[in-house]
């Protein structure tokens, strides 16, 4: 049926439906009330790097190899390796700074890391009042657990976990094989001295 003013009445019906519907169907309301509600950021979103640790923050995966420091295009990473009293390297960082006012979020540090240690975070609430010190992330700010990594990027973290597990198993198998070979050799030639090529257990487990 057509009558004068039909379009106007139809329009009023549409807005009335929206008005009433917005009270009954909350999925109509697309607003995310930010400080209280947040959207889950996509898995591939990234902001700034962080360092993964497995059991405790004292033992990060990072071995302070400085590859990321060298590769970082804007040179925003600064690493000093930790050493014990005798000056022997402990294969973990003493200082690990990332200046996020310089970082350009390129993810190259993540690509080059051989220990799956540095990963991209998706924490976007990085506003600070100060310009210099507060935008400099120190080691305690950077260290985050593997659980956190699994939480923000489940797929990627699962792949990394599988890879590390496979590497660890391969290493253990190799070690076992080498041990078996060494045992066989020792059995074959009892008076011989211990073989010089026997594999040493690595200091500080990488896996």
């Amino acid at each position: 049926m057509n009558y004068p003013g039909k379009g106007l009445v139809d329009g009023l019906a549409v807005t009335a439906r929206n008005f009433v519907g917005s009270y009954f169907y909350t999925d109509r309301l697309t607003t995310v009330q930010y400080p209280e509600e947040r959207v889950q950021t996509p898995e591939n979103s990234r902001t700034f790097p962080f360092l993964v640790f497995d059991e405790s923050p004292d033992k990060p995966r990072c071995t302070a190899c400085k590859i990321c420091e060298v590769e970082c295009p804007p040179k925003c990473i600064y690493i000093v390796m930790d050493r014990d009293e005798k000056g022997k390297p402990r294969q973990q960082p003493k200082i690990f700074d990332i200046d996020i006012s310089v970082c350009m979020q390129c993810q190259i540090c993540v690509e080059v890391c051989p220990f799956e240690s540095i990963k991209m975070d998706n924490d976007y609430e990085k506003s600070r009042y100060g310009r210099f010190n507060e935008l400099m992330l120190r080691l305690p700010d950077l260290l985050k657990s593997n659980e956190y990594y699994r939480q923000i990027k489940p797929t990627e973290a699962a792949a990394v976990d599988a890879k590390l597990k496979a590497e660890a198993e391969a290493k253990a198998a190799k070690k076992a094989a080498a041990a078996a070979v060494a045992a066989a050799k020792a059995a074959a030639s009892p008076p011989a001295t211990p073989p010089p090529a026997s594999p040493k257990p690595p200091e500080g487990s990488a896996a």
Binding site: T15, A16, F19, S22, T31
Partner: protein, 387 residues
């Protein structure tokens, strides 16, 4: 006001007469300021929330529970803002315009009855006063546009003048129908005439053929006169920045908003008085209880009209200038004139059913004729991808 004077005089015989006089002046003024400015404040909030819901979003909900304190926050904010006067502006007129624009909106409430006998001044020419004073605001609008020395302001002001003058004619003509039927210009008497019948409802003028047409005309005219959507061309943001209040900031801008809302609410109040039976409703009548029920009905209807305004604002797009003028002169004015004839027929034809049939038929014929005559002005049907 006379009644308040007599009442106070009887209650407090020992108080000097001049004190009683001043009190009798101040009580209605205080009532109008207190009640209508509160309604204004919450109308701004409700409007924002309702528009939000119409667009499927939350309205303001940060200040206080459900955003109830938002009007206070807005008021504080706008009081603290800097008041800027353009260097080339006419300082005096620029200052005067926002002050003047609030006055007519408030004056109209003097003759809007809220309960039996409860009207600030029972003028014998109440309707004329309301309609005449309501239009005075256009002077302030033009003053604002002219004094700002800004092309957008001036364009907005010119549009405002053209629009308000054009729409005043059909609005008044729609009011004339009621005046003819009631045989009086006094708003209080007009409301009394709409009492009785079934539940105090069936005699409202909107339930007459001519009254319905008059109501539609009056609502449209009222929207146009208070420059509300869809007739907000004078301040069309997308075309004229802010229209006549482009060069106003701070509290002067707030006064413009206030004047606009007060004028819109005043038109809603006059509409309620003329067509929706004012304070008439089930249970309304003289006495304290009846008076309170009457006030409930009046303010309920006023709220309903304001809600209708908001709903319309959230729905209809703005008219173009030529459409605006064409609508006023080619549709509304002829219909208003035809409506006056319908009231005449209604008055003289007996018995009532005959009058019903004849006036309805007469108005229906003219609605069809006017639709056909203006068919060329209608836009072609458009197909939209998303509905």
């Amino acid at each position: 006001m006379e009644k308040i004077y007599q009442l106070l005089h009887a209650l407090l015989p020992s108080v000097p007469v001049w004190t009683v006089w001043i009190a009798a002046f101040l009580i209605p003024i205080g009532f109008i300021f207190g009640v209508y400015l509160t309604i204004f404040a919450f109308t701004t909030l409700v409007e924002r929330k309702a528009l939000g819901r119409i667009q499927n979003r939350y309205g303001p909900n940060r200040v206080g529970p459900f955003g109830i304190l938002q009007p206070m926050a807005d008021g504080l904010k706008i009081l603290l803002k800097e008041d800027i006067v353009p260097r080339a502006a006419d300082k005096f007129s620029h200052f005067l315009a926002p002050v003047l624009i609030v006055v007519p909106g408030l004056l109209v409430y003097l003759v809007v009855p809220v309960a039996p006998g409860m009207v600030a001044v029972d003028l014998k020419i109440g309707v004329l006063f309301a309609l005449a004073v309501g239009t005075v605001s256009v002077i302030a609008l033009f003053m604002a546009g002219w004094a700002s020395r800004n092309k957008f302001s001036l364009l907005g002001a010119m549009r405002a003048v053209a629009q308000v003058v054009s729409y005043e004619v059909p609005t008044v003509m729609a009011g004339v129908a009621v005046i003819m039927a009631a045989g009086t210009l006094s708003t209080l008497t007009i409301v009394e005439r709409q009492g009785g019948g079934i539940l105090n409802i069936s005699n409202w003028y909107v339930f007459r053929p001519w009254g319905l047409v008059g109501f539609v005309l009056f609502v449209i005219g009222g929207l146009a006169e208070s420059a509300r959507c869809p007739f907000d061309l004078p301040e069309a943001e997308s075309e004229l920045i802010g229209g006549y209040h482009t060069e106003y900031s701070g509290f002067k801008f707030a006064l413009f908003q206030m004047g606009e809302y007060l004028a819109g609410m005043a038109m809603a109040g006059v509409t309620v008085t003329l067509f929706l039976g004012g304070y008439m409703g089930p249970g309304s009548g003289p006495g304290l209880v009846g008076g309170l029920i009457s006030m409930f009905w009046f303010f309920g209807k006023l709220t309903g009209m304001i809600a209708l305004n908001i709903w319309i604002r959230g729905t209809w797009p703005r008219l173009r200038v030529d459409q605006l003028m064409g609508f006023a002169w080619k549709v509304l004015l002829p219909l208003a004139l035809v409506n006056i004839v319908a009231v005449g027929l209604w008055h003289f034809l007996t018995p009532r059913p005959v009058a019903w049939v004849v006036t309805t038929g007469w108005l229906a014929i003219w609605v069809v004729v006017l639709t056909k005559c203006n068919a060329g002005a209608a836009l072609e049907k458009r197909e939209y991808r998303y509905i």
